[in-house]
């Protein structure tokens, strides 16, 4: 790990020479049998694994028409080939989205199409083998499900959905990722990805309260499990543990304090993230999401607000309704759920919170759109508000803001390199490489505008960049949250009222 080298920062994103097998061998640790069983998957790959594999694949093809359509409709136009950050940084052709999909498409042809059954290899069909399984484990975990390729596909093929289906098939075959499954097990048994029990959470929140009071002199509270609160905040548990995450947590608390609302965190649903999505498993996604739903009902809150977490927002915004039903028991005057950025910007616009921009004058800020927010959900009233709202917040609390190049932001944003269940140490090599396109774009605004604050609204992005910035020769302190900037600049004191 110590000898991981970052690509050179030149400010240019150049399509590399194709090098087959360049990132072969980089794959997640496999979950041990005990862990597999805990999350209801076969303990290990059985001798009849091909049956399990094809049974699950058939089930997915029936259940998710989209996957079958995606497998059928690719015309190999090549529009996606140079759009993936992992291809751009490794040159491995298996990281071209079309070629990644081919790992599943070839099996689909062999077992689910007449042409493939009859003509085999000639029709691009491929038989199941141990070798193919290794390729699946490798390249379906070198996809961060960021969906950038789908933006450029004229047919709208979503590689992330194919990756999720592939991981689901692997799990059903007894092959799972230790990192993802450990987290799912903790979220389902303890209530958060960290595995932080209630008393530890309360101790942590007490500590954050002390920190805020020491720094500001104002007793800002971080309430836990308060029945009858107006707002339930659901945020990634990394906000209770890591830096710079916790600085955004301070920001949310200060916003609620200044708005004068009753809010609460729940120890039952002390996690916004939902790794069930990353492995494409509907049951786990539903179980984890249900904790939020139950907490909202049990605490009798009026609304649910999501903290800075990309995939939490995607699951809450896009899937929660169909997983566990609508939040129709909450107060219908609010958008359910809301994103903390929507909430804060609304208060800023109403003049309910005051910001001192000069407090952030040491920072020249840029904003990195997180994949799951930019491409898989929305905020606000109109399409694209998920891009403009965080920027409006930054501009309201900072004097110096600049965007990175157009083709690297908004719906064309590049992944941090650690999304989609890839944020684990054994994947560090591909994580460092995969960040390259984003880092080149950052390099350009660092050179032109002395950018020294990289603002984020996703816990994975925060953890990933904190880890890889030093490898690229940049201080990890330059990574921060949007609500960290709010926290620096918000004027606590006499309330203007909402």
């Amino acid at each position: 790990m110590a000898d991981i080298k970052a690509p050179e920062l030149t400010g240019e994103i150049i399509t590399p020479k194709v090098t087959p097998g360049a990132s072969k061998g980089i794959m997640p640790f496999k979950a041990k049998p005990e862990l597999m069983e805990k999350v209801n998957f076969p303990a290990e790959k059985p001798s009849n694994w091909k049956e399990l594999f094809l049974k699950k694949m058939e089930e997915i093809l029936k259940k998710y028409r989209s996957v079958r359509v995606f497998l059928d409709e690719c015309v190999r136009c090549g529009a996606c080939t140079d759009k993936c950050h992992y291809f751009l940084s490794t040159g491995d052709p298996r990281n071209m989205p079309v070629h990644r999909q081919e790992l599943m498409r070839s099996v689909y042809r062999k077992y689910f199409t007449t042409g493939g059954k009859l003509l085999g290899n000639l029709a691009g069909a491929r038989e199941l083998s141990d070798e193919l399984l290794e390729e699946w484990l490798t390249y379906f975990y070198q996809c961060s499900e960021c969906r950038r390729c789908s933006v450029f596909c004229p047919y709208g093929i979503d590689t992330a959905e194919i990756t999720m289906a592939a991981r689901e098939i692997l799990d059903a075959t007894g092959i799972g990722s230790k990192y993802n499954l450990e987290i799912i097990n903790k979220a389902e048994t303890i209530g958060n990805n960290l595995g932080m029990p209630g008393p530890a959470l309360r101790n942590t929140l007490d500590f954050v309260e002390e920190e805020i009071e020491e720094k500001t002199g104002v007793p800002v509270k971080l309430p836990l499990d308060v029945e009858g609160a107006d707002i339930l905040l659901v945020t990634p548990s990394a906000d209770f543990f890591a830096e710079p995450h916790v600085l955004s947590l301070e920001g949310y608390a200060k916003v609620f304090h200044q708005a004068g609302v009753n809010w609460t965190i729940s120890s039952h649903a002390s996690e916004g993230g939902n790794f069930g999505m990353f492995i494409g498993n509907y049951d786990h996604m539903k179980t984890i999401n249900k904790r939020i739903w139950d907490a909202a009902r049990d605490l009798k809150v009026k609304r649910v607000i999501a903290g800075e977490c990309g995939h939490a927002w995607r699951v809450l915004y896009s899937f929660s309704n169909t997983l566990n039903g609508p939040f129709d028991f909450l107060d219908s005057q609010y958008r359910q759920p809301s994103h903390i950025c929507e909430y804060t910007l609304d208060l800023i616009k109403k003049g309910a919170i005051k910001l001192d921009k000069a407090a952030n004058d040491e920072f020249s800020v840029t904003f990195h759109d997180s994949c799951n927010v930019a491409r898989a959900s929305r905020m606000g009233e109109t399409p694209g508000d998920q891009m403009t709202i965080p920027r409006e917040i930054i501009n309201a609390c900072c004097n110096k803001f600049v965007d990175m190049a157009d083709d690297t932001i908004g719906e064309r944003t590049f992944c941090c390199g650690g999304g989609g269940g890839v944020l684990t140490d054994e994947m560090i090599d591909i994580r460092v490489k995969g960040a390259m396109p984003r880092m080149q774009a950052l390099k350009r605004v660092k050179d032109s505008h002395d950018v020294n604050f990289f603002a984020l609204i996703c816990a994975i992005c925060k953890a990933q960049f904190t880890k890889i910035f030093p490898i690229y020769g940049i201080e990890m302190e330059e990574v921060g949250g949007v609500h960290q900037l709010i926290s620096n600049s918000i004027q606590l004191g006499a309330k203007e009222g909402v």
Partner: protein
């Protein structure tokens, strides 16, 4: 299952060298892990390890890094209560290296 051998006893560890059972931990385990990394554990390293273990015993999880740095500042002076100092002691990171020496499981999630 990989093992770590210390003073004639074998300890189960995971792929990354974290102890499988935190209760089996001994000071010898921390010393042996550090030795593998080419580190000699000083009194300052031990301060971190001891605080991590006492927090874990109480709360079943490692503390937020800020809780750790604040505790160090309180006990040993302000210049020792910051993340930079922790990284000087544990170059691979307080969570990943200090937790491992302390016999605690690796923190999981988006951290």
């Amino acid at each position: 299952m990989a093992t770590l051998d210390v003073e004639g006893k074998s300890y189960e560890v995971d792929e990354e060298g974290y102890l499988m059972d935190w209760q089996e931990w001994t000071e010898g385990v921390a010393g042996a892990m550090a030795k593998e990394d080419g580190l000699d554990l000083s009194a300052e390293h031990w301060n971190v390890i001891k605080f991590l273990r006492s927090y874990f015993e109480k709360y079943q999880i490692a503390p937020m890094i800020k809780i750790l740095t604040k505790e160090l500042a309180k006990e040993y002076g302000k210049e020792k209560g910051n993340t930079k100092y922790l990284y000087e002691l544990y170059p691979a990171g307080p969570a990943k290296q200090a937790c491992r020496y302390a016999g605690l499981p690796k923190p999981t999630g988006c951290v």
